[in-house]
């Protein structure tokens, strides 16, 4: 058995209505302590209203070597970008 506690990724919801954002990671022996530790490490200055933790090993990530095929499509397809609409000023920031 490893003597190291497993790694957890921490997500904090800063305010009601916002999404949870990844803020960092920490070590903890289980989920309950991960929440406690996240509270102590990341939220002691009124940063959040909700905490998610997830085992880092449970996160499935894309492979850096596939960066090209995944993220670099040919940019000649202007029709894929919704740039032909006039946004009324009243809408504000979109």
């Amino acid at each position: 058995m490893s003597s190291e506690w497993p790694l957890w990724e921490v997500f904090i919801r800063g305010q009601h209505g916002l999404n949870h954002r990844h803020v960092g990671s920490l070590h903890a022996p289980d989920a309950e302590m991960a929440i406690h530790n996240a509270r102590d490490v990341y939220t002691r200055r009124n940063e959040g209203v909700s905490i998610w933790v997830v085992r880092s090993s449970d996160i499935v990530a894309s492979a850096p070597s596939e960066k090209g095929p995944l993220f670099d499509p040919a940019n000649s397809k202007v029709y894929r970008h919704p740039t032909f609409f006039d946004v009324p000023d009243e809408v504000g920031h979109m």
Partner: protein
């Protein structure tokens, strides 16, 4: 703003006891900063320490106000000798290992929270306000310390043995929390603060339940070390104050 400038010695004494206890425990926990067994625990203990120092400011601020002698919370913290300190003996005990520090925190938290719950209904509005304000922090302190006591007590044979040793060491210092004197009597008869003994059932219940979960056994002895409330402390307090007060003693009035 309080308009009651009238000195109230009993309230001052009570706030001093609360403030000194928070201050010394906060200082003890702060000694772990940079030395805890894991980064996460280091930060958690420092948070607890900072919470307690914040509470100290409130209590000693009230002491200063109720004494009506123009002192500040800082004067009280930095310019009294150990015989002037009114903290519980429990909180000045050396940190020992991490387990003992957590056990001390738990035994204190299990008293602190019920105390604040009663104080939130105090006839003295200033006391009620402080209690109301800090009881959220203390609820978390108790949640965390009791959780760790269970995890370490019911952990492996090494952690179990250390937690049992911590409990045996600290037990004689717990009785003092429930001993009352004339000040307590005056305060409880006027509805300002609870009679210390009245907090015993809540503490017993929480401690018994937590220790059972932690597979730890409370010592049989009910002998209580006492003296904190009359300024008779163990030698450890003098060493804490020497470190804490050094700057103000060496450079009176130093400020930054």
């Amino acid at each position: 703003m309080s308009t009651a400038a009238a000195a109230s010695p009993d309230v001052a004494e009570f706030a001093l006891r609360m403030g000194d206890t928070c201050l010394i425990l906060g200082h003890r926990n702060a000694e772990w900063c940079g030395h805890s067994p894991a980064l996460e625990e280091d930060i958690a203990l420092a948070n607890t320490a900072l919470d307690l120092i914040g509470q100290t400011q409130l209590w000693l601020g009230l002491t200063a106000e109720a004494q009506g002698k123009g002192r500040t919370a800082d004067d009280l913290a930095y310019l009294r000798d150990s015989s002037g300190y009114r903290n519980l003996l429990l909180v000045e005990q050396p940190n020992g290992d991490f387990g003992r520090t957590i056990m001390r925190q738990f035994l204190f938290d299990a008293w602190h929270l019920p105390m604040l719950k009663v104080l939130a209904g105090s006839k003295d509005r200033r006391i009620a306000e402080i209690a109301e304000k800090v009881s959220k922090e203390v609820t978390y302190h108790l949640e965390r310390s009791s959780d760790l006591v269970v995890r370490l007590g019911d952990g492996n044979s090494e952690s179990h043995a250390r937690m049992q040793a911590a409990l045996d060491f600290l037990w004689p210092y717990t009785g003092e929390m429930f001993l009352g004197d004339a000040v307590d009597e005056a305060l409880s008869s006027t509805g300002i603060a609870p009679a210390p003994g009245s907090l015993r059932p809540a503490w017993n219940e929480k401690v018994a339940r937590t220790l059972a979960d932690a597979t730890l056994k409370a010592p049989e002895s009910s002998y209580a070390q006492k003296g904190g409330r009359s300024g008779v402390h163990s030698e450890h307090l003098g060493l804490i104050l020497a470190e804490m007060q050094f700057l103000q003693r060496a450079y009176p009035g130093a400020n930054w």
